[in-house]
Symmetry: C4
Subunit: 373 residues, 4 copies
Amino acid sequence: MSNEIEIGRGKRGRRAYTFDDIAVVPSRRTRSTHDVSTSWTIDAFTFDTPIIGAPMDSVVSPASAIELGRMGALGVLDLEGLWTRYEDPEPLLAEIASLPAESATQRMQALYAEPIRAELITRRIAEIREAGVVVAGALSPQRTAEFYETVVNAGVDLFVIRGTTVSAEHVSKAGEQPLNLKQFIYDLDVPVIVGGAGTYQAALHLMRTGAAGVLVGFGGGAASTTRTTLGVHTPMASAVADVAGARRDYLDESGGRYVHVIADGGVGTSGDIVKAIAMGADAVMLGVSLARATDAPGNGYHWGAEAHHPSLPRGRRVQVDQVGPMQQILHGPAISADGTTNLLGSLRKSMATTGYSDLKEFQRVDVVVTPYE
Amino acid sequence: MSNEIEIGRGKRGRRAYTFDDIAVVPSRRTRSTHDVSTSWTIDAFTFDTPIIGAPMDSVVSPASAIELGRMGALGVLDLEGLWTRYEDPEPLLAEIASLPAESATQRMQALYAEPIRAELITRRIAEIREAGVVVAGALSPQRTAEFYETVVNAGVDLFVIRGTTVSAEHVSKAGEQPLNLKQFIYDLDVPVIVGGAGTYQAALHLMRTGAAGVLVGFGGGAASTTRTTLGVHTPMASAVADVAGARRDYLDESGGRYVHVIADGGVGTSGDIVKAIAMGADAVMLGVSLARATDAPGNGYHWGAEAHHPSLPRGRRVQVDQVGPMQQILHGPAISADGTTNLLGSLRKSMATTGYSDLKEFQRVDVVVTPYE
Amino acid sequence: MSNEIEIGRGKRGRRAYTFDDIAVVPSRRTRSTHDVSTSWTIDAFTFDTPIIGAPMDSVVSPASAIELGRMGALGVLDLEGLWTRYEDPEPLLAEIASLPAESATQRMQALYAEPIRAELITRRIAEIREAGVVVAGALSPQRTAEFYETVVNAGVDLFVIRGTTVSAEHVSKAGEQPLNLKQFIYDLDVPVIVGGAGTYQAALHLMRTGAAGVLVGFGGGAASTTRTTLGVHTPMASAVADVAGARRDYLDESGGRYVHVIADGGVGTSGDIVKAIAMGADAVMLGVSLARATDAPGNGYHWGAEAHHPSLPRGRRVQVDQVGPMQQILHGPAISADGTTNLLGSLRKSMATTGYSDLKEFQRVDVVVTPYE
Amino acid sequence: MSNEIEIGRGKRGRRAYTFDDIAVVPSRRTRSTHDVSTSWTIDAFTFDTPIIGAPMDSVVSPASAIELGRMGALGVLDLEGLWTRYEDPEPLLAEIASLPAESATQRMQALYAEPIRAELITRRIAEIREAGVVVAGALSPQRTAEFYETVVNAGVDLFVIRGTTVSAEHVSKAGEQPLNLKQFIYDLDVPVIVGGAGTYQAALHLMRTGAAGVLVGFGGGAASTTRTTLGVHTPMASAVADVAGARRDYLDESGGRYVHVIADGGVGTSGDIVKAIAMGADAVMLGVSLARATDAPGNGYHWGAEAHHPSLPRGRRVQVDQVGPMQQILHGPAISADGTTNLLGSLRKSMATTGYSDLKEFQRVDVVVTPYE
């Protein structure tokens, strides 16, 4: 049935679903986990896993970016975080983890008021590059014009432009000169991943800018409160499926250019990774799932850029359970059964049990809509 | 799909939605918050914000009406509250805030049994008028005939007639002479805002009386229990969208008279304001959101007229978190991320992120139906 | 839209709704509460209220049946309860109220194992009759053949046959001779109310037996666990609307015989009474709502016959809040706002606010489907 | 209405229902419980009840298999559990019941790492056989090739192949030689029950292998977390109804071979048994319902094979309330009203109240879809 609903005489809206609303179902075939591949290729880069560490200070530091790369994943450093504002952010990360709840937002607003230093961007990127892993860094659209040359010259392999919403068409009445994404991406030598986008239309327009990948989401992560503060919400199962529909239509329109769909937000367990790919995602960007690592830079806490906005914080520093080192979170063994460890083992088991051998095929798996009991 | 449901063979009903059931979604355009206007004009009066303080003793006193006016909002004084029954209600407001829960209803029933004094109506209105802000006062339909001349002579700019339900057609068998709204509004020199109405039909009939604005709601606020006591409930998202549909149809029918739709009830966070306007509201009437101010007259408590009905109380005095002064609630900065402060900043951010520049345009924003996780 | 759903390939079922799923909505008319009548007439008997006290030992004793009658309601005595098994049940009612939770079921199984005595049936009915109120008594279908002559000779005005399910067609292979309802009702001089029935078909067949009224429900009350134990559940809003549909069709089929629809179960607040009538009920049978009275025989506890079944208890003795005397529960004044006191005042207010003047008209009121927030 | 939903542009899925979403409704007929039969016949074996004890160490030991057989049920011994790995598992079962929560998974991983001994399989089966009850044992598909000859030679009456998912078509690229179910079942002398399957297609293919019965489910039991870990979930009401649809279609396709549908997972109360059969199940496999017995081998704890997977545990050892001996759980009397005791009495009462006399007829009973209040 169609999913457009008449809310009242003056308004209609589509019914949209979260990952919690859906589940994968096995069908008539099964397969051995040994025959399953989770590898993912974007542009010239191939990874053993479709896992991307989110550009958040609680998740990716230069050290954890290197570690993620060695484990077959990709860590994206936030180039507007503490690592590019301070010579040595380690004590500040420790301080954030020790702040009492009532003053955390205000102290973080102060810490992130320190200016970004271009030479620190260069130094952090170089540090990751020296380790021999794929290098990725993220800027917000507001800062991209100011810092992209520094970033490209420092030698990133993948350039990420990430805001709560990024549109292909930013309208401005004032003198402000917004980023022309299409021209910018055309001029750049490195592939660009851009987002978040939450709808078919928004994603289709981003694909037309020449992006290599689109992030799907709108601050929907564990540390975000945008639904309460802004009234804005992007239920992830529907959003990923919509953007996957845009990818298919854009493939036809462009005569064959495949733009990667990356679920960014709301992916908190191994089951969520499975569902994101079942909805059509090529890869997933993980925040809280990796912040749970004992060796994550957040030291048991997790926060995003929204948490320290100077006048309109739209997220919180949240405490997370530390469940094991990053290696165990990604590759196991799991010693509990809550979907927080052995993420890749779970993904492989889920693919095997439903009879699929690679991620692209697994996007076709059957799903049911069923609210959590 | 149609939203009429067969409940059983003998009864059908429409599926209706609350603000919690919906969310706004960004689309392909974004905009700078600097290019966004939240101004609202009704009749000859223009406000910087679409915010109206509800006529409840916990929200609007003469002092807070003046303060709201200076911040670009409109405060409506309850002309049947403590301020028109007592020379000095401040000690009584303090007493209400100190009552133990078990005796609060009974003591409030006693306090509000004191008669209304016409000369106090005159004096309170004069006090607000002298401050140079727009003056608005509210009467219930039951008392309007008795006191409206006093109110108009005292010099209100906007006259509010507000009950849990106000209809254009009050049927009476007994000698009782109900208010003829159409004649009343025609005879009056000042614009009238009237409600609550919860359906397309009820609102359309109120529009035909010549009202400048219609309040949408039915005691649906934070302090109300009408669903439990009366079985009556008006899910706000559907109600606002229905009444916005009536506004559109009445525009056509009347050859161009635009009646303002004001969401009154269930608007507890900045996200709810966003959703009310997305459903088609021109402005919102706030109760609990403003009662949370440290300088609100309720001193950390909130209650409506239903809470002290002599024989059938249909609401409660509820304790609310005090989150900051009224200025910070409306204009920020927010120091938490729960949608209780910087309401206007959140509204502007939401409009910018979805690419709209004024409130009228923003009524067209896309929404999804998705129950809260 | 149709409400039949494919659960899976081999099974379809209808979507059904509880009172909590619906709410009444005001429309374009209002009315004064003074012009509203709640009177109800069945056969030769007219009552000021559509309220029936359920035949449960925690709700109706001879004394409370008289009290209900004097307040314009009808109390139905359970003729298989403690009052017809014991000379003086008062100490046993007090004992039940003092039993620890873990032994309550077993002790009640023992107390109700005592045989029913015909002379006590006669005496209890006489006691109520002497007070000059309408007399009603209830038997289960299993005991009706054995005791009905005693009951009729004792002089009941209304005869109630009540089980969790009563069907017009009880199939038996063994020698067992089931009650032939149609013949039984035809032979009887007094009007019969029979149930529970939960569906259109079941109710239509009961109507064809000549019953004056049909009880709608299936052990759905506050003290019942039939959904957990038997997997059986009758969502009340849909059930009442279905049976009201059967009443309408039977009116046509019978050439004008009007069978009363009585909601029995799940009516716990004044809002539920409003909704039951909005769904098409002519009257409501109250259990827990009256057990909350300080002068109810249950002394703050409530239980049904299912709670002491010798081998398969399907309900519990539940503790209830005592909110005031029965007079205050029915006619107010309410001193709280939770729908447990002034039930009739709430019903009248709800009818007035939606513009209806009697119960039959009020069955047409508009409703919405909206899950509780 | 159809139950296929567009989740987003790129993905559709069916709406699926759990047992909690549905309820059985009485209709126009009732019947005496004495006229109701709960007998179930599969192949040459007839049981007084449609109850199967699940092959889990917390539920079925040789002793409890014998006890179940004597009470008219069937106990299936897990031939890969502690009883075939250890000479005397009683002390280990006691140890598991005494493990602290934080180390339970790890200790169980160690205990179940002990190899399976063929001679213990032979001895356990012989022990049950000597008691004169029907003998059933279960292997996982991975171990079936290795041990089936031992099992068949030991003399089982019913052979169960049970995994979280079992498919008729296990695809393998590597040298691995998967079990050819069709050939295997054809060659075997004893009837085979196989599963779990969760969809129409999967079940239809299993039916074509020649299986006598199909288990419906996917690790959906009380001790399982597959939805969180794998993203896989099989809502049981829809799954059983789908597989019952496959049974009907296969009956036609095969010219009359009737394959039994056995609900396996999510059957925790007597109400769930009723619903499983209402959805089309011929029998139910019980885990937690029997683990609640004071004489169950789990000593108040319950766990499945997923709980001790060496690298990817997908379930937990859960503590359960001990409600009475197995005899009382199956045949009563019930002394509480929570659906955990007198399972068969409840089933009989439910069948009687809806007018059905045997299990096959009862599969046609009317149901409603209504989420739990």
